[in-house]
Protein backbone atom coordinates (compact mmCIF):
# COMPACT_ATOMS: atom_id res chain seq x y z
CA UNK A 1 0.00 0.00 0.00
CA UNK A 2 2.76 2.43 1.04
CA UNK A 3 4.61 1.60 -2.17
CA UNK A 4 1.45 2.36 -4.16
CA UNK A 5 1.02 5.71 -2.43
CA UNK A 6 4.67 6.58 -2.98
CA UNK A 7 4.39 5.54 -6.62
CA UNK A 8 1.28 7.71 -7.08
CA UNK A 9 3.00 10.68 -5.49
CA UNK A 10 6.02 10.25 -7.72
CA UNK A 11 4.04 10.14 -10.97
CA UNK A 12 3.89 13.84 -11.63
CA UNK A 13 7.66 13.91 -11.73
CA UNK A 14 7.68 12.12 -15.01
CA UNK A 15 6.92 14.95 -17.36
CA UNK A 16 9.89 17.11 -16.65
CA UNK A 17 12.41 14.99 -14.85
CA UNK A 18 14.66 14.20 -17.77
CA UNK A 19 17.62 16.33 -18.59
CA UNK A 20 19.79 16.72 -21.62
CA UNK A 21 23.32 15.44 -21.60
CA UNK A 22 25.85 16.11 -24.27
CA UNK A 23 29.58 15.74 -24.48
CA UNK A 24 32.22 16.91 -26.90
CA UNK A 25 35.19 14.57 -27.36
CA UNK A 26 38.42 15.73 -28.99
CA UNK A 27 39.45 13.43 -31.83
CA UNK A 28 42.82 15.22 -31.95
CA UNK A 29 42.69 15.51 -35.74
CA UNK A 30 41.01 18.91 -35.89
CA UNK A 31 37.57 17.39 -35.37
CA UNK A 32 35.44 16.61 -32.34
CA UNK A 33 32.63 14.15 -31.70
CA UNK A 34 29.38 15.43 -30.22
CA UNK A 35 27.32 12.89 -28.30
CA UNK A 36 23.83 13.84 -27.15
CA UNK A 37 21.11 12.04 -25.21
CA UNK A 38 18.59 12.49 -22.44
CA UNK A 39 19.50 11.39 -18.92
CA UNK A 40 16.82 8.72 -19.31
CA UNK A 41 18.85 7.15 -22.10
CA UNK A 42 16.40 8.33 -24.78
CA UNK A 43 17.89 9.50 -28.04
CA UNK A 44 17.81 13.22 -28.89
CA UNK A 45 17.42 12.35 -32.56
CA UNK A 46 16.21 15.39 -34.51
CA UNK A 47 17.32 17.96 -31.91
CA UNK A 48 19.03 21.00 -33.35
CA UNK A 49 22.74 21.25 -32.58
CA UNK A 50 24.52 24.57 -33.04
CA UNK A 51 28.02 25.92 -32.62
CA UNK A 52 27.87 29.65 -31.91
CA UNK A 53 30.72 32.16 -31.95
CA UNK A 54 31.15 33.80 -28.53
CA UNK A 55 32.52 36.96 -30.10
CA UNK A 56 29.97 37.58 -32.83
CA UNK A 57 26.98 35.37 -31.90
CA UNK A 58 27.12 33.98 -35.43
CA UNK A 59 26.09 30.39 -35.99
CA UNK A 60 29.24 28.60 -37.13
CA UNK A 61 27.63 25.18 -37.55
CA UNK A 62 24.09 23.81 -37.38
CA UNK A 63 22.77 20.30 -37.87
CA UNK A 64 20.10 17.97 -36.47
CA UNK A 65 21.27 15.12 -34.25
CA UNK A 66 21.04 11.92 -36.33
CA UNK A 67 19.60 8.58 -35.17
CA UNK A 68 23.04 7.49 -33.93
CA UNK A 69 23.01 10.40 -31.43
CA UNK A 70 26.47 11.62 -32.41
CA UNK A 71 28.01 14.05 -34.88
CA UNK A 72 31.58 14.66 -36.01
CA UNK A 73 32.34 18.33 -36.58
CA UNK A 74 35.41 20.50 -37.23
CA UNK A 75 36.81 22.31 -34.19
CA UNK A 76 36.04 26.02 -34.73
CA UNK A 77 38.96 28.42 -35.06
CA UNK A 78 37.41 30.98 -32.69
CA UNK A 79 36.00 30.75 -29.15
CA UNK A 80 32.56 29.11 -29.25
CA UNK A 81 29.62 27.71 -27.32
CA UNK A 82 27.76 24.51 -28.08
CA UNK A 83 23.97 24.63 -28.03
CA UNK A 84 21.65 21.65 -28.11
CA UNK A 85 18.04 22.63 -28.67
CA UNK A 86 15.34 20.00 -28.44
CA UNK A 87 12.32 22.16 -27.89
CA UNK A 88 11.09 24.48 -25.12
CA UNK A 89 12.61 23.63 -21.75
CA UNK A 90 15.15 21.31 -23.33
CA UNK A 91 18.03 23.53 -24.25
CA UNK A 92 21.56 23.04 -23.09
CA UNK A 93 24.45 25.38 -23.66
CA UNK A 94 28.10 24.65 -22.95
CA UNK A 95 31.28 26.58 -23.50
CA UNK A 96 33.45 24.87 -26.08
CA UNK A 97 36.67 23.85 -24.33
CA UNK A 98 38.22 21.91 -27.20
CA UNK A 99 40.67 24.19 -28.98
CA UNK A 100 42.33 23.86 -32.40
CA UNK A 101 46.05 22.92 -32.39
CA UNK A 102 47.21 26.53 -32.71
CA UNK A 103 44.68 27.91 -30.24
CA UNK A 104 41.77 30.22 -30.95
CA UNK A 105 42.07 33.15 -33.35
CA UNK A 106 41.38 36.49 -31.76
CA UNK A 107 38.08 37.96 -32.94
CA UNK A 108 36.81 41.43 -32.09
CA UNK A 109 34.04 41.02 -29.54
CA UNK A 110 30.75 42.40 -30.83
CA UNK A 111 28.51 40.26 -28.69
CA UNK A 112 27.35 42.67 -26.00
CA UNK A 113 23.68 42.38 -25.16
CA UNK A 114 23.10 46.11 -24.86
CA UNK A 115 19.36 45.59 -24.33
CA UNK A 116 19.95 43.40 -21.29
CA UNK A 117 22.38 45.79 -19.57
CA UNK A 118 20.36 48.89 -20.45
CA UNK A 119 17.08 47.56 -19.04
CA UNK A 120 18.85 46.03 -16.03
CA UNK A 121 20.48 49.34 -15.10
CA UNK A 122 17.21 51.20 -15.69
CA UNK A 123 15.31 48.80 -13.40
CA UNK A 124 17.93 49.09 -10.64
CA UNK A 125 17.89 52.89 -10.95
CA UNK A 126 14.11 53.02 -10.48
CA UNK A 127 14.29 50.79 -7.40
CA UNK A 128 17.13 52.85 -5.91
CA UNK A 129 15.25 56.05 -6.63
CA UNK A 130 12.18 54.65 -4.86
CA UNK A 131 14.19 53.95 -1.71
CA UNK A 132 15.86 57.41 -1.85
CA UNK A 133 12.43 59.05 -2.18
CA UNK A 134 11.13 57.07 0.78
CA UNK A 135 14.20 57.99 2.82
CA UNK A 136 13.65 61.69 2.02
CA UNK A 137 10.00 61.36 3.08
CA UNK A 138 11.00 59.85 6.43
CA UNK A 139 13.54 62.62 6.96
CA UNK A 140 10.95 65.27 6.13
CA UNK A 141 8.53 63.86 8.69
Amino acid sequence: MIKKILFTLMFPLLLNAHTLIFNALDNEDGTMEIEAMFSTGRSTEGANFKIISIATSQILYEKRIPTSGSLIVDVPKEAYTLLLDSGPGHQLEKNGDIKPKNGFQEVVIKNINFAFYFTLILSILFILLAFILQFLKIKKN
Binding site: E45, I124, A130, F131, N141
Partner: protein
Protein backbone atom coordinates in the same frame (compact mmCIF):
# COMPACT_ATOMS: atom_id res chain seq x y z
CA UNK B 1 -7.36 27.30 28.53
CA UNK B 2 -4.21 29.46 28.62
CA UNK B 3 -2.40 26.84 26.58
CA UNK B 4 -5.21 26.82 24.05
CA UNK B 5 -5.11 30.61 23.78
CA UNK B 6 -1.37 30.51 23.23
CA UNK B 7 -1.84 27.88 20.56
CA UNK B 8 -4.47 29.95 18.71
CA UNK B 9 -2.34 33.08 19.01
CA UNK B 10 0.64 31.23 17.51
CA UNK B 11 -1.57 29.93 14.74
CA UNK B 12 -2.79 33.44 13.94
CA UNK B 13 0.78 34.80 13.92
CA UNK B 14 1.93 31.94 11.67
CA UNK B 15 -1.03 32.51 9.33
CA UNK B 16 -0.21 36.23 9.13
CA UNK B 17 3.55 36.06 8.58
CA UNK B 18 3.61 33.00 6.36
CA UNK B 19 0.78 34.65 4.45
CA UNK B 20 2.84 37.77 3.86
CA UNK B 21 5.69 35.64 2.54
CA UNK B 22 3.39 33.61 0.29
CA UNK B 23 1.22 36.44 -1.00
CA UNK B 24 3.90 38.07 -3.12
CA UNK B 25 4.92 34.88 -4.93
CA UNK B 26 1.45 33.41 -5.17
CA UNK B 27 -0.01 36.66 -6.44
CA UNK B 28 2.54 36.80 -9.28
CA UNK B 29 1.97 33.13 -10.00
CA UNK B 30 -1.81 33.62 -10.02
CA UNK B 31 -1.62 36.74 -12.19
CA UNK B 32 0.55 35.13 -14.85
CA UNK B 33 -1.15 31.75 -14.41
CA UNK B 34 -4.42 33.42 -15.28
CA UNK B 35 -2.82 34.79 -18.45
CA UNK B 36 -1.25 31.40 -19.16
CA UNK B 37 -4.74 29.88 -19.17
CA UNK B 38 -5.00 31.55 -22.60
CA UNK B 39 -1.53 30.41 -23.70
CA UNK B 40 -2.63 28.70 -26.92
CA UNK B 41 -4.57 31.77 -28.01
CA UNK B 42 -1.75 34.17 -27.08
CA UNK B 43 0.70 31.95 -28.95
CA UNK B 44 -1.42 32.24 -32.10
CA UNK B 45 -1.92 36.00 -31.66
CA UNK B 46 1.83 36.60 -31.36
CA UNK B 47 2.62 34.57 -34.49
CA UNK B 48 1.67 36.62 -37.58
CA UNK B 49 2.06 33.57 -39.80
CA UNK B 50 -0.86 31.90 -37.99
CA UNK B 51 -3.36 34.67 -38.56
CA UNK B 52 -5.87 32.65 -40.53
CA UNK B 53 -9.26 31.04 -39.94
CA UNK B 54 -9.71 27.84 -37.96
CA UNK B 55 -10.23 25.20 -40.64
CA UNK B 56 -13.24 22.95 -40.83
CA UNK B 57 -11.81 19.49 -40.08
CA UNK B 58 -13.56 17.95 -43.09
CA UNK B 59 -11.53 20.24 -45.38
CA UNK B 60 -8.11 19.19 -44.07
CA UNK B 61 -5.99 17.52 -46.74
CA UNK B 62 -3.65 15.35 -44.67
CA UNK B 63 -1.95 13.75 -47.64
CA UNK B 64 -0.65 16.99 -49.17
CA UNK B 65 0.25 18.57 -45.84
CA UNK B 66 2.14 15.61 -44.37
CA UNK B 67 4.02 15.03 -47.61
CA UNK B 68 5.09 18.70 -47.66
CA UNK B 69 6.06 18.64 -43.99
CA UNK B 70 8.13 15.48 -44.45
CA UNK B 71 9.92 17.08 -47.38
CA UNK B 72 10.70 20.12 -45.23
CA UNK B 73 12.14 17.79 -42.56
CA UNK B 74 14.33 16.00 -45.17
CA UNK B 75 11.97 13.01 -45.46
CA UNK B 76 12.57 11.18 -42.17
CA UNK B 77 10.91 7.78 -41.96
CA UNK B 78 10.88 7.13 -38.22
CA UNK B 79 9.80 8.96 -35.09
CA UNK B 80 7.80 11.63 -36.90
CA UNK B 81 5.11 13.41 -34.85
CA UNK B 82 2.29 15.33 -36.49
CA UNK B 83 0.10 17.68 -34.45
CA UNK B 84 -3.37 17.76 -35.90
CA UNK B 85 -4.94 21.24 -36.37
CA UNK B 86 -7.26 22.18 -33.54
CA UNK B 87 -8.99 25.20 -32.03
CA UNK B 88 -5.87 26.10 -30.07
CA UNK B 89 -3.23 25.29 -32.75
CA UNK B 90 -4.66 26.11 -36.12
CA UNK B 91 -1.69 24.94 -38.20
CA UNK B 92 -0.59 21.37 -38.69
CA UNK B 93 2.70 20.91 -36.80
CA UNK B 94 5.32 18.33 -37.72
CA UNK B 95 8.59 17.35 -36.11
CA UNK B 96 11.11 14.59 -36.39
CA UNK B 97 12.44 13.29 -33.06
CA UNK B 98 13.36 16.41 -31.15
CA UNK B 99 13.59 18.75 -34.11
CA UNK B 100 11.82 22.09 -34.06
CA UNK B 101 8.25 22.06 -35.37
CA UNK B 102 7.49 22.78 -39.00
CA UNK B 103 4.03 24.33 -39.43
CA UNK B 104 1.74 23.99 -42.43
CA UNK B 105 -1.20 26.22 -43.22
CA UNK B 106 -4.18 23.88 -43.67
CA UNK B 107 -5.91 26.36 -46.03
CA UNK B 108 -3.05 26.74 -48.51
CA UNK B 109 -1.07 23.58 -47.59
CA UNK B 110 2.09 25.71 -47.59
CA UNK B 111 4.86 25.67 -44.99
CA UNK B 112 4.53 28.69 -42.68
CA UNK B 113 7.42 31.16 -42.37
CA UNK B 114 7.91 30.92 -38.58
CA UNK B 115 11.65 31.82 -38.59
CA UNK B 116 11.40 34.88 -36.34
CA UNK B 117 8.41 33.72 -34.31
CA UNK B 118 9.48 32.43 -30.93
CA UNK B 119 6.23 32.59 -28.91
CA UNK B 120 8.06 34.92 -26.58
CA UNK B 121 5.02 36.33 -24.77
CA UNK B 122 3.22 33.08 -24.02
CA UNK B 123 6.47 31.43 -22.88
CA UNK B 124 7.44 34.43 -20.75
CA UNK B 125 4.03 34.53 -19.02
CA UNK B 126 4.27 30.80 -18.43
CA UNK B 127 7.76 31.12 -16.97
CA UNK B 128 6.67 33.95 -14.68
CA UNK B 129 3.82 31.70 -13.57
CA UNK B 130 5.88 28.69 -12.57
CA UNK B 131 9.32 30.04 -11.69
CA UNK B 132 9.04 33.88 -11.75
CA UNK B 133 11.66 33.73 -14.53
CA UNK B 134 14.25 32.49 -12.03
CA UNK B 135 14.75 28.95 -13.34
CA UNK B 136 15.12 26.17 -10.75
CA UNK B 137 15.45 28.55 -7.79
CA UNK B 138 12.16 30.20 -8.76
CA UNK B 139 10.49 26.84 -9.29
CA UNK B 140 11.60 25.70 -5.84
CA UNK B 141 10.37 28.98 -4.31
CA UNK B 142 7.00 28.54 -5.99
CA UNK B 143 6.82 24.99 -4.64
CA UNK B 144 7.56 26.21 -1.09
CA UNK B 145 4.94 28.95 -1.54
CA UNK B 146 2.38 26.35 -2.60
CA UNK B 147 3.08 24.30 0.52
CA UNK B 148 2.67 27.45 2.60
CA UNK B 149 -0.64 28.03 0.80
CA UNK B 150 -1.83 24.57 1.89
CA UNK B 151 -0.99 25.50 5.48
CA UNK B 152 -2.72 28.90 5.08
CA UNK B 153 -5.84 27.22 3.70
CA UNK B 154 -6.06 24.75 6.58
CA UNK B 155 -5.25 27.32 9.27
CA UNK B 156 -7.63 29.85 7.66
CA UNK B 157 -10.51 27.37 7.69
CA UNK B 158 -9.71 26.40 11.28
CA UNK B 159 -9.70 30.06 12.40
CA UNK B 160 -12.93 30.69 10.53
CA UNK B 161 -14.61 27.69 12.20
CA UNK B 162 -13.36 28.88 15.55
CA UNK B 163 -14.89 32.31 14.96
CA UNK B 164 -18.17 30.71 13.93
CA UNK B 165 -18.17 28.63 17.09
CA UNK B 166 -17.66 31.75 19.16
CA UNK B 167 -20.20 33.57 16.98
CA UNK B 168 -17.70 36.38 16.62
CA UNK B 169 -18.62 39.13 14.14
CA UNK B 170 -15.81 40.25 11.85
CA UNK B 171 -15.98 44.01 11.57
CA UNK B 172 -12.71 44.64 9.73
CA UNK B 173 -13.53 45.35 6.10
CA UNK B 174 -10.41 43.71 4.61
CA UNK B 175 -10.60 40.65 6.84
CA UNK B 176 -14.25 40.07 6.03
CA UNK B 177 -13.62 40.16 2.30
CA UNK B 178 -10.38 38.18 2.58
CA UNK B 179 -12.31 35.45 4.42
CA UNK B 180 -15.35 35.48 2.10
CA UNK B 181 -13.36 35.48 -1.14
CA UNK B 182 -10.95 32.81 0.07
CA UNK B 183 -13.81 30.54 1.18
CA UNK B 184 -15.56 31.07 -2.13
CA UNK B 185 -12.37 30.14 -3.97
CA UNK B 186 -11.56 27.14 -1.78
CA UNK B 187 -11.73 24.46 -4.52
CA UNK B 188 -9.54 26.64 -6.79
CA UNK B 189 -7.00 27.24 -4.01
CA UNK B 190 -6.84 23.55 -3.13
CA UNK B 191 -6.32 22.46 -6.75
CA UNK B 192 -3.60 25.01 -7.47
CA UNK B 193 -1.73 24.85 -4.17
CA UNK B 194 -1.62 21.04 -4.33
CA UNK B 195 -0.59 20.86 -7.98
CA UNK B 196 1.82 23.78 -7.51
CA UNK B 197 3.46 22.05 -4.54
CA UNK B 198 3.88 18.81 -6.46
CA UNK B 199 5.17 20.45 -9.64
CA UNK B 200 7.42 22.92 -7.81
CA UNK B 201 8.87 20.91 -4.94
CA UNK B 202 8.64 17.29 -5.96
CA UNK B 203 10.15 17.89 -9.37
CA UNK B 204 13.20 19.43 -7.75
CA UNK B 205 13.59 16.97 -4.90
CA UNK B 206 12.83 13.56 -6.36
CA UNK B 207 16.39 12.19 -6.40
CA UNK B 208 16.45 10.77 -2.83
CA UNK B 209 13.19 8.88 -3.48
CA UNK B 210 14.57 7.46 -6.72
CA UNK B 211 17.80 6.51 -4.95
CA UNK B 212 15.88 4.75 -2.18
CA UNK B 213 13.36 3.03 -4.48
CA UNK B 214 16.13 1.66 -6.73
CA UNK B 215 18.30 0.46 -3.83
CA UNK B 216 20.97 3.04 -4.56
CA UNK B 217 21.27 2.35 -8.29
CA UNK B 218 19.50 5.35 -9.81
CA UNK B 219 18.95 8.96 -8.78
CA UNK B 220 16.71 9.90 -11.70
CA UNK B 221 13.08 9.07 -10.93
CA UNK B 222 12.07 9.55 -14.52
CA UNK B 223 14.50 6.87 -15.68
CA UNK B 224 12.81 4.38 -13.34
CA UNK B 225 9.16 5.13 -13.93
CA UNK B 226 8.91 6.63 -17.43
CA UNK B 227 9.40 3.34 -19.32
CA UNK B 228 6.51 1.80 -17.34
CA UNK B 229 4.03 4.64 -17.72
CA UNK B 230 4.90 6.10 -21.09
CA UNK B 231 5.88 2.90 -22.79
CA UNK B 232 6.12 3.34 -26.51
CA UNK B 233 3.19 1.54 -28.16
CA UNK B 234 5.45 0.83 -31.15
CA UNK B 235 8.52 -1.23 -30.33
CA UNK B 236 8.63 -3.15 -33.55
CA UNK B 237 11.81 -2.98 -35.66
CA UNK B 238 11.98 -2.18 -39.33
CA UNK B 239 12.17 -5.21 -41.66
CA UNK B 240 14.13 -3.26 -44.27
CA UNK B 241 11.63 -4.36 -46.91
CA UNK B 242 10.12 -1.52 -48.92
CA UNK B 243 6.33 -1.32 -48.98
CA UNK B 244 3.69 1.04 -50.34
CA UNK B 245 1.80 2.87 -47.60
CA UNK B 246 -1.90 3.61 -47.55
CA UNK B 247 -2.65 7.31 -47.82
CA UNK B 248 -2.64 9.28 -44.54
CA UNK B 249 -6.24 10.33 -44.98
CA UNK B 250 -7.30 6.72 -45.55
CA UNK B 251 -5.45 5.62 -42.41
CA UNK B 252 -7.04 8.52 -40.51
CA UNK B 253 -10.50 7.36 -41.61
CA UNK B 254 -9.74 3.78 -40.54
CA UNK B 255 -8.64 5.05 -37.11
CA UNK B 256 -11.84 7.09 -36.76
CA UNK B 257 -14.02 4.11 -37.75
CA UNK B 258 -12.29 1.83 -35.26
CA UNK B 259 -12.10 4.36 -32.46
CA UNK B 260 -14.92 6.89 -33.00
CA UNK B 261 -14.70 8.45 -29.52
CA UNK B 262 -10.99 9.24 -29.91
CA UNK B 263 -10.45 12.96 -30.49
CA UNK B 264 -7.19 12.71 -32.45
CA UNK B 265 -4.61 15.34 -31.54
CA UNK B 266 -1.33 13.77 -32.69
CA UNK B 267 -0.26 11.25 -35.31
CA UNK B 268 3.12 9.46 -35.17
CA UNK B 269 4.90 7.57 -37.91
CA UNK B 270 7.32 4.71 -37.29
CA UNK B 271 9.32 2.67 -39.83
CA UNK B 272 7.53 4.48 -42.64
CA UNK B 273 7.69 2.98 -46.15
CA UNK B 274 8.75 -0.31 -44.56
CA UNK B 275 6.84 -3.61 -44.34
CA UNK B 276 6.60 -3.03 -40.59
CA UNK B 277 5.36 0.57 -40.77
CA UNK B 278 3.17 1.78 -37.92
CA UNK B 279 1.01 4.84 -37.57
CA UNK B 280 -0.21 5.85 -34.10
CA UNK B 281 -3.22 8.11 -33.60
CA UNK B 282 -3.30 9.65 -30.11
CA UNK B 283 -5.81 11.84 -28.37
CA UNK B 284 -8.31 12.21 -25.60
CA UNK B 285 -11.68 10.50 -25.34
CA UNK B 286 -14.61 12.71 -26.26
CA UNK B 287 -16.62 11.28 -23.37
CA UNK B 288 -13.85 11.42 -20.75
CA UNK B 289 -11.46 14.34 -21.14
CA UNK B 290 -10.47 14.36 -17.46
CA UNK B 291 -9.03 10.85 -17.36
CA UNK B 292 -7.43 11.11 -20.80
CA UNK B 293 -5.65 14.44 -20.50
CA UNK B 294 -2.06 15.02 -21.60
CA UNK B 295 -0.46 12.35 -19.39
CA UNK B 296 -2.86 9.56 -20.28
CA UNK B 297 -3.62 9.82 -23.98
CA UNK B 298 -5.47 6.95 -25.59
CA UNK B 299 -4.25 5.61 -28.92
CA UNK B 300 -4.88 3.30 -31.80
CA UNK B 301 -1.98 1.76 -33.74
CA UNK B 302 -2.43 0.78 -37.39
CA UNK B 303 -0.23 -1.00 -39.87
CA UNK B 304 0.83 1.64 -42.40
CA UNK B 305 0.70 -0.77 -45.34
CA UNK B 306 -2.57 -2.59 -44.70
CA UNK B 307 -4.46 -0.34 -42.28
CA UNK B 308 -4.97 -3.31 -39.98
CA UNK B 309 -5.54 -2.38 -36.30
CA UNK B 310 -2.44 -3.51 -34.38
CA UNK B 311 -3.48 -2.31 -30.92
CA UNK B 312 -5.88 0.00 -29.19
CA UNK B 313 -5.40 1.58 -25.77
CA UNK B 314 -8.60 2.14 -23.84
CA UNK B 315 -9.31 3.46 -20.36
CA UNK B 316 -9.91 -0.11 -19.14
CA UNK B 317 -6.37 -1.17 -19.95
CA UNK B 318 -4.58 1.82 -18.43
CA UNK B 319 -3.54 1.94 -14.80
CA UNK B 320 -5.74 3.62 -12.16
CA UNK B 321 -2.75 5.69 -11.12
CA UNK B 322 -2.52 7.04 -14.69
CA UNK B 323 -6.17 8.09 -14.36
CA UNK B 324 -5.41 9.92 -11.11
CA UNK B 325 -2.39 11.62 -12.66
CA UNK B 326 -4.42 12.58 -15.71
CA UNK B 327 -7.13 14.22 -13.56
CA UNK B 328 -4.41 15.96 -11.55
CA UNK B 329 -2.91 17.50 -14.68
CA UNK B 330 -6.29 18.19 -16.25
CA UNK B 331 -7.41 20.58 -13.52
CA UNK B 332 -4.12 22.46 -13.58
CA UNK B 333 -3.47 22.69 -17.33
CA UNK B 334 -6.98 22.32 -18.92
CA UNK B 335 -5.12 21.45 -22.13
CA UNK B 336 -8.08 20.27 -24.19
CA UNK B 337 -10.64 22.75 -22.96
CA UNK B 338 -12.24 25.50 -24.99
CA UNK B 339 -12.72 29.15 -24.21
CA UNK B 340 -15.61 28.73 -21.73
CA UNK B 341 -13.65 26.77 -19.11
CA UNK B 342 -10.69 29.12 -19.62
CA UNK B 343 -12.90 32.14 -18.97
CA UNK B 344 -14.14 30.53 -15.74
CA UNK B 345 -10.49 30.07 -14.71
CA UNK B 346 -9.85 33.74 -15.56
CA UNK B 347 -12.69 34.95 -13.32
CA UNK B 348 -11.72 32.66 -10.43
CA UNK B 349 -8.09 33.73 -10.81
CA UNK B 350 -9.03 37.42 -10.55
CA UNK B 351 -11.24 36.84 -7.48
CA UNK B 352 -8.52 34.80 -5.80
CA UNK B 353 -5.87 37.46 -6.51
CA UNK B 354 -8.11 40.14 -4.97
CA UNK B 355 -8.65 37.90 -1.92
CA UNK B 356 -4.86 37.58 -1.52
CA UNK B 357 -4.30 41.35 -1.67
CA UNK B 358 -7.08 41.96 0.86
CA UNK B 359 -5.32 39.56 3.23
CA UNK B 360 -2.20 41.71 3.01
CA UNK B 361 -4.22 44.86 3.67
CA UNK B 362 -5.51 43.37 6.95
CA UNK B 363 -1.93 43.32 8.18
CA UNK B 364 -0.83 46.68 6.71
CA UNK B 365 -3.85 48.50 8.18
CA UNK B 366 -3.26 46.99 11.59
CA UNK B 367 0.43 47.89 11.56
CA UNK B 368 -0.03 51.45 10.32
CA UNK B 369 -2.69 52.13 12.98
CA UNK B 370 -0.54 50.60 15.68
CA UNK B 371 2.89 51.90 14.81
CA UNK B 372 2.27 54.62 12.22
CA UNK B 373 5.76 54.59 10.74
CA UNK B 374 7.24 54.79 7.31
CA UNK B 375 8.42 51.22 7.28
CA UNK B 376 4.87 49.99 6.76
CA UNK B 377 4.27 52.79 4.31
CA UNK B 378 6.92 51.37 1.99
CA UNK B 379 5.40 47.92 2.35
CA UNK B 380 2.10 49.34 1.15
CA UNK B 381 3.93 50.99 -1.78
CA UNK B 382 5.61 47.71 -2.69
CA UNK B 383 2.19 46.04 -2.52
CA UNK B 384 0.76 48.65 -4.88
CA UNK B 385 3.56 48.06 -7.38
CA UNK B 386 3.19 44.29 -7.05
CA UNK B 387 -0.56 44.14 -7.30
CA UNK B 388 -1.47 47.04 -9.60
CA UNK B 389 1.88 48.03 -11.14
CA UNK B 390 2.25 44.59 -12.68
CA UNK B 391 -0.81 45.27 -14.87
CA UNK B 392 0.61 48.21 -16.93
CA UNK B 393 4.03 46.48 -16.93
CA UNK B 394 2.45 43.45 -18.64
CA UNK B 395 0.50 45.67 -21.05
CA UNK B 396 3.78 47.46 -21.84
CA UNK B 397 5.33 44.10 -22.74
CA UNK B 398 2.52 43.44 -25.24
CA UNK B 399 3.01 46.91 -26.65
CA UNK B 400 6.77 46.45 -27.07
CA UNK B 401 6.21 43.07 -28.71
CA UNK B 402 4.46 44.69 -31.66
CA UNK B 403 6.49 47.90 -31.59
CA UNK B 404 9.90 46.31 -32.15
CA UNK B 405 10.65 44.79 -35.56
CA UNK B 406 10.92 41.00 -35.51
CA UNK B 407 14.50 41.05 -36.78
CA UNK B 408 15.76 43.48 -34.11
CA UNK B 409 18.97 42.31 -32.46
CA UNK B 410 18.37 41.08 -28.88
CA UNK B 411 14.64 41.68 -29.37
CA UNK B 412 13.71 39.27 -26.53
CA UNK B 413 15.96 41.13 -24.08
CA UNK B 414 14.42 44.49 -25.04
CA UNK B 415 10.91 43.18 -24.48
CA UNK B 416 11.50 41.24 -21.24
CA UNK B 417 13.84 43.95 -19.94
CA UNK B 418 11.14 46.50 -20.80
CA UNK B 419 8.72 44.60 -18.59
CA UNK B 420 11.08 44.72 -15.59
CA UNK B 421 11.93 48.39 -16.17
CA UNK B 422 8.27 49.35 -16.28
CA UNK B 423 7.52 47.25 -13.21
CA UNK B 424 10.30 48.88 -11.19
CA UNK B 425 9.11 52.28 -12.48
CA UNK B 426 5.67 51.59 -10.99
CA UNK B 427 7.33 50.96 -7.62
CA UNK B 428 9.25 54.22 -7.86
CA UNK B 429 6.10 56.08 -8.89
CA UNK B 430 4.06 54.56 -6.00
CA UNK B 431 6.63 55.91 -3.56
CA UNK B 432 6.70 59.29 -5.33
CA UNK B 433 2.93 59.68 -5.04
CA UNK B 434 1.75 60.40 -1.49
CA UNK B 435 -1.36 58.29 -1.78
CA UNK B 436 -1.15 54.85 -3.39
CA UNK B 437 -4.68 55.20 -4.73
CA UNK B 438 -3.49 58.13 -6.89
CA UNK B 439 -0.60 56.02 -8.14
CA UNK B 440 -3.01 53.18 -8.92
CA UNK B 441 -5.20 55.59 -10.86
CA UNK B 442 -2.28 56.61 -13.06
CA UNK B 443 -1.35 52.95 -13.54
CA UNK B 444 -4.81 52.27 -14.94
CA UNK B 445 -4.40 55.20 -17.35
CA UNK B 446 -1.02 53.84 -18.41
CA UNK B 447 -2.54 50.40 -18.82
CA UNK B 448 -5.25 51.85 -21.06
CA UNK B 449 -2.68 53.63 -23.25
CA UNK B 450 -0.55 50.49 -23.62
CA UNK B 451 -3.45 48.15 -24.34
CA UNK B 452 -5.11 50.38 -26.92
CA UNK B 453 -1.71 51.02 -28.57
CA UNK B 454 -1.07 47.27 -28.63
CA UNK B 455 -4.22 46.64 -30.65
CA UNK B 456 -3.23 49.23 -33.27
CA UNK B 457 0.44 48.23 -33.33
CA UNK B 458 -0.63 44.62 -33.84
CA UNK B 459 -2.85 45.69 -36.74
CA UNK B 460 -0.09 47.81 -38.22
CA UNK B 461 2.55 45.05 -38.03
CA UNK B 462 0.37 42.24 -39.35
CA UNK B 463 -1.85 44.30 -41.67
CA UNK B 464 -4.74 42.73 -39.83
CA UNK B 465 -6.61 45.39 -37.94
CA UNK B 466 -9.64 44.60 -35.82
CA UNK B 467 -12.03 45.27 -38.69
CA UNK B 468 -9.95 43.09 -41.06
CA UNK B 469 -9.99 40.08 -38.74
CA UNK B 470 -13.76 40.58 -38.36
CA UNK B 471 -14.27 40.74 -42.14
CA UNK B 472 -12.08 37.69 -42.72
CA UNK B 473 -13.75 35.73 -39.85
CA UNK B 474 -10.43 35.16 -38.07
CA UNK B 475 -12.32 35.00 -34.80
CA UNK B 476 -9.55 34.11 -32.33
CA UNK B 477 -7.44 37.09 -33.41
CA UNK B 478 -10.49 39.35 -33.57
CA UNK B 479 -11.63 38.43 -30.05
CA UNK B 480 -8.15 38.89 -28.54
CA UNK B 481 -7.84 42.36 -30.11
CA UNK B 482 -11.38 43.22 -29.07
CA UNK B 483 -10.76 41.97 -25.53
CA UNK B 484 -7.59 44.09 -25.25
CA UNK B 485 -9.42 47.13 -26.63
CA UNK B 486 -12.34 46.71 -24.19
CA UNK B 487 -9.88 46.11 -21.35
CA UNK B 488 -8.00 49.29 -22.33
CA UNK B 489 -11.14 51.41 -22.54
CA UNK B 490 -12.47 49.82 -19.33
CA UNK B 491 -9.16 50.58 -17.62
CA UNK B 492 -9.37 54.26 -18.62
CA UNK B 493 -13.01 54.44 -17.57
CA UNK B 494 -12.17 52.85 -14.21
CA UNK B 495 -9.34 55.36 -13.67
CA UNK B 496 -11.71 58.28 -14.40
CA UNK B 497 -14.35 56.95 -12.02
CA UNK B 498 -11.97 55.79 -9.29
CA UNK B 499 -12.43 58.75 -6.99
CA UNK B 500 -16.19 58.37 -7.09
CA UNK B 501 -16.17 54.70 -6.09
CA UNK B 502 -16.98 54.62 -2.38
CA UNK B 503 -15.47 51.21 -1.85
CA UNK B 504 -12.06 52.43 -3.02
CA UNK B 505 -12.01 55.16 -0.37
CA UNK B 506 -11.00 52.34 1.96
CA UNK B 507 -7.59 52.50 0.28
CA UNK B 508 -7.14 56.20 1.05
CA UNK B 509 -4.13 56.98 3.17
CA UNK B 510 -2.10 53.88 2.28
Amino acid sequence: MILENKYIKSLKISHTYLGIFAIFFFYISTFFGTLTVFKPYIATWESPSKHFQVIDKSKINLDIMITKGLKELNNPTNNVTITYPSLTEKALGMRYGFSENVYINPHTNNVLPTNHESQLLSNFFNKMHYDINMSKVGQFLMGITSIVMIFLTISGIYLWLLNRKKRAVISNFWLRWHKDLSLLMLPYIIVFSLTGAVLGIMLSLSSPFAYSASNGIETNMSKIVRPIIFSNPVKIKSENVKATMLSYSRLYDIAKINYPILNISTISLFNWNDKNARIVFRGNLINNRILTSRTNRMNIVLNGETGEVVSKATLDNTHKVSHALSAFYFFHFITDEGILVRLIYLITGIIFAIGLVFGLFVWIEKKIKKENNSYFNIISKISTAFSIGIIPATAFTLCLYWLFPFNLENRDSWIIGGFYSMWSFTFCYSVYKKDSIDAAKDFFYLNAIFLISTVFLHGNTTNLFLWNSFEQSIWDIFYIDLFLLILGIGSAFFAIKMNKIKFLNKFKGY
